[in-house]
């Protein structure tokens, strides 16, 4: 969609009109297929022909040759894709395709997210009807407990237990909240889930409202996701028209209202107590727990907060049963997990795998491995709260306990693959820069400690590292983890600590030898022109500080004393004549 699909669909519409095919061809605007690297994408049915990388002239060609003459255009067809090949052959019956298994994302890419009839056709709102008419609130909660579903926001708290605690509170006013404040850099699961299938989230929340006795739901979503917000609003309006939202839902006594509240760009608001502060119209600063939001949350009332992916799992648990759900995954982590696979991997996009799938299977079988024949270096899970795992851990199964044991966390589902071209000190610095600027400032260890850690890391990457800096980082990190109030502070040092643990020699090289083996840290590298230079002058013209000299058609040189190491010359050179040394 972001690659201009809306424009293409208008074009397609015009073409159909011109050829008089409007009555015979239906354009279905679907949600994310998870294949971001091949977009824009179009599927032509029947036959499940999958087209990718479309440009404007291609649309006319598809209409002319495929739709009218019945000849698919080979040049545009996506073939041999690890992620989705099987998926499209069994369109509509998507229990398994490859190593993926889609529960939370079961409808994404299949239904038209702007049309409730599509959702209803795939057993949509059946779970709500079943809960409201055949089950008591307690039975709904028991079903969840049987399923073993744990919170998908990162911490993995048992969802059934959370619901039970909220349901046990005696209060005339309770709230259900959907946490869609996806702030991890490198994560886009929630956005795609809502854009692709907004009704699932709404249905999950209504079931939650019924189970705990709440009549008001709130979706807290990032303002940066305008399309997701628009689709949620549309879905809410359609649900209301169908009697699925509002008073006396499906003719029962159950009444439920929903409201959307926008976040405003604060990572800490993903933490539940901070999120509540933000909905209340204040600065999003966490407060100590207990009392937990289940007991005293929004406006001091019992509040049930789950994240988007957790909510999307609820209708499945109710329709197919907790017993079935618990058969997927591992003993302690049931079900599936959605990951946003990105970074240095061939197939970037959204995937959903059963718990217990190994990192190797995700990166190599589903992700297609590392592009350009580079070597795998690490995989980062859990965003700024997680850690970097090296190749030794590739066979770690993905579940809450195993990842924690390996020194990282499940997190909300960001998974960034890092290859040999990235410097681990630089990666750690990147995350610390993020957490220190996102720290809300309430607790001193987090506010000041992350800043000091960032200073030390900056010093190391500038080649001014001192003996003992690594130990200082470890000591500071340990202290921040132990003495911070909320999850942000408690996990902020993780990227640094895990890179020190797994890539200590890289830190030592920076400090002792002043070298960066990945050739990333600007102060520790230089750019030099080699003999392949033909003297075209492109680098000279592009240099922002004018330090490249040389005559036309003769080898140029860089004045190292003045060079700011921006790397623009390397990027502009067409003759591979510039080396990083």
């Amino acid at each position: 969609m972001q690659q201009g699909m809306r424009h293409l669909s208008t074009l397609l519409d015009e073409q159909l009109e011109r050829h008089g095919l409007k009555d015979r061809v239906k354009i279905n605007v679907s949600g994310c297929l998870g294949m971001c690297h091949k977009g824009p994408i179009m599927v032509v049915n029947p036959g499940y022909t999958l087209y990718g990388g479309l440009e404007e002239p291609d649309v006319a060609q598809i209409v002319r040759e495929h739709l009218i003459q019945g000849r698919p255009i080979a040049r545009l067809v996506i073939e041999e894709d690890h992620l989705f090949n099987r998926f499209f052959r069994i369109f509509g019956d998507v229990n398994f395709f490859g190593k993926q298994m889609r529960i939370a994302l079961r409808n994404c890419g299949i239904i038209d997210p702007e049309n409730i009839d599509d959702y209803l056709a795939l057993r949509g709102y059946e779970a709500l009807a079943k809960a409201l008419t055949d089950m008591t609130p307690q039975q709904v909660i028991d079903e969840l407990k049987t399923s073993g579903l744990r919170g998908r926001g990162g911490a993995g708290f048992p969802t059934g237990l959370k619901w039970q605690i909220t349901a046990d509170q005696v209060s005339g006013e309770k709230y259900v909240i959907c946490n869609a404040d996806e702030g991890d850099p490198g994560a886009f699961m929630d956005r795609s889930a809502i854009e692709g299938d907004p009704h699932t989230v709404l249905e999950g929340m209504m079931i939650g409202g019924y189970a705990v006795g709440a009549a008001q739901g709130i979706v807290y979503i990032r303002a940066e996701y305008p399309l997701a917000i628009e689709r949620l609003e549309r879905a809410m309006a359609q649900a209301r028209d169908h009697g699925l939202l509002g008073d006396h839902i499906l003719g029962t006594d159950f009444c439920f209202e929903l409201e959307i509240r926008l976040g405003a760009g604060a990572f800490v608001c993903g933490e539940e107590t901070a999120l509540i502060q933000s909905i209340e119209g204040a600065r999003g600063m966490p407060r100590p727990r207990p009392p937990y939001p289940s007991v005293s949350g929004l406006f001091g009332k019992p509040t049930l907060i789950n994240n988007v992916e957790t909510w999307a799992n609820i209708p499945v648990v109710i329709v197919d049963g907790g017993q079935w759900f618990s058969s997927i995954g591992t003993e302690k982590s049931q079900g599936t997990k959605v990951f946003a696979l990105a970074g240095k991997v061939v197939n970037t996009g959204l995937i959903e795998v059963p718990m217990g799938t190994t990192l190797r299977e995700i990166i190599y079988d589903i992700g297609g491995g590392i592009p350009h024949g580079k070597a795998f270096k690490a995989v980062q899970t859990g965003g700024p709260s997680g850690g970097c795992l090296p190749a030794d851990y590739l066979d770690t199964p993905v579940d809450y306990e195993s990842l924690a044991q390996a020194g990282s966390i499940m997190g909300s589902g960001g998974m960034i693959v890092i290859d040999e071209d990235s410097c681990m000190v630089d990666i750690a610095k990147f995350f610390l820069e993020f957490t220190q600027s996102e720290s809300c400032g309430k607790c001193t260890p987090c506010r000041e400690g992350t800043k000091r850690m960032f200073e030390i890391l900056t010093r190391i990457s500038d080649g001014r590292g001192q003996a003992g800096d690594i130990e200082k980082l470890e000591r500071l990190g340990d202290m921040i983890k132990k003495s911070s109030l909320c999850g942000l502070g408690q996990s902020a040092p993780n990227p640094v600590l895990s890179t020190i643990k797994n890539f200590r020699e890289e830190y030592e090289e920076h400090i002792r030898d002043h070298t960066c083996r990945a050739k990333v840290c600007p102060s520790l590298i230089a750019y030099a022109i080699n003999d392949a230079c033909v003297g075209c002058g492109a680098c000279k013209r592009g240099c922002p500080v004018n330090v490249i000299s040389g005559r036309t058609k003769q080898k140029h040189t860089i004045d190292q004393t003045q060079c700011v190491r921006c790397g623009l010359c390397l990027a502009t050179c067409k003759y591979d004549a510039i080396d990083k040394v």
């Binding site: 509240r261 976040g263 760009g265 933000s278 990105a342 970074g343 970037t348 922002p544 623009l568």
Partner: protein, 165 residues
């Protein structure tokens, strides 16, 4: 700068009137600030004072909230807002080079607006388009798989369009 019959202000007042009738009306402060920014492009001081009176919330609290969240601008913005994604995926795929290119070309730092008022440059936390990394969002359009060359071409294109107008 504010006149009595500012149509934008009328719209804002309407929004405030609506939320004041709801329970826990204070909690809609962030929504009102969103509306203000949608109308004015940033949060002007005069407007904050008006919100303070109309919603009966101290200005100190409003400024506290406005400065806490990255989304709110406290200064007027350029005609085109360039948001550079500095999320992990973009970072790993070379966002730093894109930043450098833009800084050189526009001759401004992050958070600043060019002298001609055409561009405002600001960092963005993950735009959620990691599959297309590195990414830049200009106004509401995503530009993906960028290289320094591609980036400066896009800026030049905007400049040419502005000149035509």
């Amino acid at each position: 700068m504010l006149t009595k019959d500012d149509p934008k202000l009328d719209q804002l007042k309407q929004t405030i009137d609506q939320v004041m009738q709801k329970p826990y009306s204070d909690s809609y402060l962030i929504a009102v600030l969103h509306k203000t920014q949608a109308l004015y492009g940033y949060l002007p001081e005069d407007i904050i004072n008006i919100i303070s009176v109309d919603m009966n919330i101290p200005t100190a609290h409003i400024w506290g909230v406005a400065t806490f969240y990255h989304y709110f601008n406290l200064t007027p913005q350029g005609q085109h807002r360039i948001a550079i994604c500095l999320g992990t995926a973009c970072y790993v795929k070379g966002a730093a080079q894109i930043v450098e290119t833009l800084k050189q070309q526009l001759k401004i730092d992050m958070g600043q607006t060019t002298a001609d008022g055409l561009f405002t440059l600001r960092p963005a936390r993950c735009l959620g388009a990691c599959g297309l990394a590195p990414v830049v969002m200009i106004d509401d359009t995503i530009h993906g798989e960028l290289t320094p060359k591609k980036m400066s071409d896009i800026v030049n294109k905007h400049r040419r369009q502005a000149k035509k107008k």
